[in-house]
């Protein structure tokens, strides 16, 4: 009988208001204004991933990120034997795919891939120039269209393996900040340590950068993680920053990685 009463007590326990503890949470900003040499670069619209635990707790993941290889935009499209006009169109405004800006009539006239897709669209969509141009990407070769995104996705999946990030957030283009909110802080703990990384290299000029940093988050104040690059031999505190030269992929000299 006493056992039954105890079970009933346990069942009732979660609905008792006294048992509802509000989870303490905190917020973290990743600031993407990075001083590289004398210039301040802005890392906008780049995704950062957040994991529970710090550098030590995520040792295996950190190793995987450090050892990962990812194709750069120029090498990817060069490897596809895209025309120099297509690659230049992407480069002109640092686009990763044809989705990043409007394809104008002038672009159609200039870029052979666009011209071919436009002609197909015109035929398919009732000889309507406006529809054909607006819908042009539907007739681009899939690899040219979203191949680079899929390649990045595959690289990311390979690095992550079974490990899932707790959250991800993108830097915006004005405040150049990625914000993580509602980050749980263990009951009774003052801080919670989180690992933040872009995982996929970010290309700035002729170098690519991967940040793997840890930061303590508390419930009292927003934590601000300012991305930095190593100054000579001086490492960045609580961060692993992987800086690599970007391979030069020009027509006829495309390297895979």
């Amino acid at each position: 009988m006493r056992g039954v009463l105890f079970i009933i007590f346990l069942l009732l326990l979660p609905v008792s208001p006294c048992s509802v503890f509000a989870q303490e949470t905190g917020a973290l900003d990743v600031t993407g204004r990075v001083r590289i040499g004398k210039a301040q670069e802005k890392i906008v619209r780049k995704r950062f991933y957040l994991f529970k635990g710090g550098l030590t707790a995520n040792k295996d993941l950190v190793e995987r990120i450090k050892n990962s290889q990812s194709t750069t935009r120029d090498c990817f499209y060069c490897g596809l034997k895209a025309s120099s006009e297509y690659i230049n169109w992407l480069r002109a405004e640092d686009c990763e795919s044809p989705y990043c800006r409007e394809i104008t009539e002038a672009d159609v006239a200039k870029v052979p891939e666009f011209q071919a897709a436009y002609t197909k669209s015109l035929r398919q969509y009732g000889n309507r120039p406006a529809v054909a141009r607006k819908w042009l990407t539907t007739n681009l070769a899939p690899e040219l269209r979203d191949g680079f995104y899929r390649s990045h996705k595959a690289d990311l999946a390979k690095v992550l393996g079974d490990q899932k990030p707790l959250q991800s957030s993108m830097t915006d283009s004005v405040s150049v900040r990625a914000t993580f909110i509602d980050l749980p802080i263990a009951a009774g703990a003052k801080n919670e340590t989180y690992l933040i990384s872009n995982i996929l290299p970010i290309v700035i000029k002729d170098k690519s950068y991967i940040w793997i940093c840890e930061a303590d988050v508390n419930s009292a104040k927003r934590t601000n993680l300012v991305l930095q690059v190593p100054d000579g031999d001086k490492p960045v505190r609580r961060c692993e920053v992987i800086v690599r030269d970007v391979p030069q992929c020009k027509e006829g000299t495309c390297s895979a990685k």
């Binding site: 409007e102 529809v131 990407t137 957030s169």
Partner: protein, 350 residues
């Protein structure tokens, strides 16, 4: 004696079996009648319909696309051939078969007119599947300094903004504006109130009315999606289930814009020059519209610019309660319909 008992028990069981059989036959007949009556209301959720591919009935594009949408679209009901293989008998049920009224506004052998497609007032069987995170990634680009370019990053110049109330041209955050444009007419709107909260007092008189520019709309048809997805990348136009998830039948009530802070103006200079993600901080990781309960602008993002004014009002609230006066109603962000409620934990914590 025992044999008599056995016989009586067998009779009893036989009676029960017979009654059950009669009940089943009757129920089946009744169900059939109900089903027949319901055939004036098409449901995608019946077991038989769920077995079919969408393309078994819907043709993409429909033959009327040029005259209706102006782009290859689904703008008409499936043809008779889609229905007849299973519903032949329903075509001939009575003089004006209810079945025909699913598509035809005039029911009868000569009635060709059909309702607009999709029917504007009938319940919807679908919710929309849209991963914001994937779209943010695909449209993202490298990062030249913003002040060196006339527009913000990730831009598809298909959408337009209404004129700003200042002289500067607005940046077009087109990765969002592809789908969310400033509305031209003030839409139906209401205040959003957290469930379970009780107001401290009656709302004071309120004269505030939001303007059209306060609101952004959202896609209601295929136009925004087909532009890229018509035949790739996936989900393509023929993969209806890639975007339309079957749900319980829900009435089309039209969109009502519900806001906690009805006074937020998207076109106000300091707001319109910010990237959408500066405030909609969670949008870049949202993979499912169903988990996006509202526009989702966490309070923390308001505080980063408006802390002084918010603190001032919160101080007034505390002071009024301490002095046993009528609770101060917060009106800097809210109308009094919301400003009369207790401070939520997000505000207390700021």
């Amino acid at each position: 004696m025992q044999g008599g008992n056995l016989l009586s028990e067998m009779r009893r069981l036989l009676n029960i079996a017979l009654l059950t059989l009669i009940a089943v036959i009757f129920a089946g007949h009744w169900a059939f009648d109900v089903d027949a009556q319901n055939r004036g209301r098409f449901s995608h959720s019946t077991a038989q319909h769920k077995k079919l591919n969408c393309s078994a009935c819907h043709k993409i594009p429909t033959s009327n696309w040029a005259s209706t949408s102006g782009f290859p679209d689904v703008q008409d009901y499936p043809g008779h051939a889609s229905c007849v293989s299973c519903h032949r008998q329903d075509f001939f049920r009575g003089n004006q078969p209810a079945f025909c009224g699913v598509c035809h506004s005039v029911v009868g052998p000569r009635g060709k007119a059909r309702f607009p497609f999709p029917h504007p007032t009938r319940n919807s069987d679908f919710s929309t599947i849209f991963p914001h995170n994937v779209h943010q990634d695909v449209i993202a680009e490298f990062a030249p300094p913003r002040d060196e370019r006339p527009y913000a990053v990730a831009h598809f110049v298909m959408a337009s903004f209404s004129p700003l109330r200042n002289d500067d041209p607005p940046p077009t955050f087109n990765n969002c504006a592809i789908c969310h444009e400033t509305v031209s007419k003030t839409p139906r709107h209401a205040v959003r109130i957290s469930p379970g909260m009780k107001p401290l007092t009656d709302a004071a008189a309120e004269t505030f009315e939001p303007k059209a520019g306060f609101f952004k709309d959202m896609p209601t048809g295929h136009a925004a999606c087909f532009t890229c997805h018509y035949q790739g990348p996936k989900p393509t136009a023929t993969d209806c289930a890639g975007c339309h998830g079957l749900t319980a039948s829900t009435p089309k009530t039209g969109v009502v814009f519900k806001r906690y802070s009805i006074k937020f103006d998207h076109l106000q200079k300091e707001h319109s020059t910010r990237d959408c993600m500066t405030c909609h901080v969670r949008i870049s990781q949202n993979a499912d519209l169903k988990t996006l309960k509202d526009a989702d602008v966490p309070f923390i993002t308001c505080v980063q610019c408006h802390n002084d004014k918010i603190s001032e009002e919160m101080g007034k609230r505390v002071e009024s309660l301490t002095n046993n006066q009528a609770p101060f109603q917060c009106v800097y962000c809210h109308s009094t319909a919301v400003g009369r409620f207790p401070l939520p934990p997000s505000h207390e914590k700021r």
